[in-house]
Subunit: 152 residues, 2 copies
């Protein structure tokens, strides 16, 4: 049998949407324990990936307004997770930088994410894991192609 049924396709999307809901709930719960929100965590994650950034660069990276970044950085700075450093050549700009506490927290989050991956997949048979990785990579590719079309 090499054809997919409408029902099967709908079931696949349903599973994905259910997964979205469950993961959002799970992540929000974990983050709240560290007094973090998803939006602020995204800022920390971005800084970890690319190093210090101007607020303008963060706004573009998160696809969010400059005003919004001001608020997110205010919150993170208030928790001593990032600091606003002067930009070396442009006195209008600030370089948002992870503090030591921020760096430590991000490293903890990353470790927890690896633990979480272990929890979900550790005793999963290899063929099944391969099925997920191959299939989802395909779906993500299709979604991105769609997204590009939608932006035209």
């Amino acid at each position: 049998m090499d054809t997919t049924s409408e029902q099967e396709r709908y079931q696949a999307l349903d599973l994905i949407l259910e997964l979205v809901v469950l993961l959002n709930a799970d992540m929000s719960r974990r983050l709240a324990a560290d007094q973090l929100t998803p939006a602020r965590t995204t800022v920390l994650w971005t800084l970890r990936g690319r190093g210090p950034a101007t607020q303008r660069q963060l706004a573009e990276a998160l696809d969010v307004s400059a005003r919004n970044i001001t608020g997110l950085v205010d919150g993170l700075a208030g928790a001593d997770l990032v600091s606003r450093e002067p930009h070396p050549t442009d006195r209008r700009a600030t370089l948002v930088t992870l503090t030591r506490r921020g760096t430590q927290l991000v490293e903890t989050l990353e470790a927890e994410q690896r633990e979480f991956a272990s929890l979900l997949f550790d005793d999963m048979p290899a063929p099944r894991l391969h099925g997920i990785v191959d299939g989802l990579a395909d779906v993500v590719g299709r979604l991105k192609a769609e997204g590009l079309k939608a932006h035209e």
Copy 2:
């Protein structure tokens, strides 16, 4: 080769998280075109699934405060998508009910979701789709088991 590597497990989780981001963006964009938000849409979806409900029941279904439901129903009623009907036996309660417009909108959304499933999966080889469905069902099961543990 029948063992999974740490790297492969981390990659699987990464793909899932990327999917979450992409789907959230995609859905929000589609809903915004109909002047809808994710939270309000969840109310509509719940009413479609189980028929008229009291606000208290909606609060439990969405796992959200009663106050929050008041606001969501206010917004939906303002758009003529739901109405507050008197409860037949309890004069304290209201029965939130889909209007004709609300019913039509939910049906449209469901049709669009089916189209979306086609778009993602139509020309995907059957084994790959099976891999996704089996793998994700497994992951969802593990997540739910975790969630239950976390609530203890």
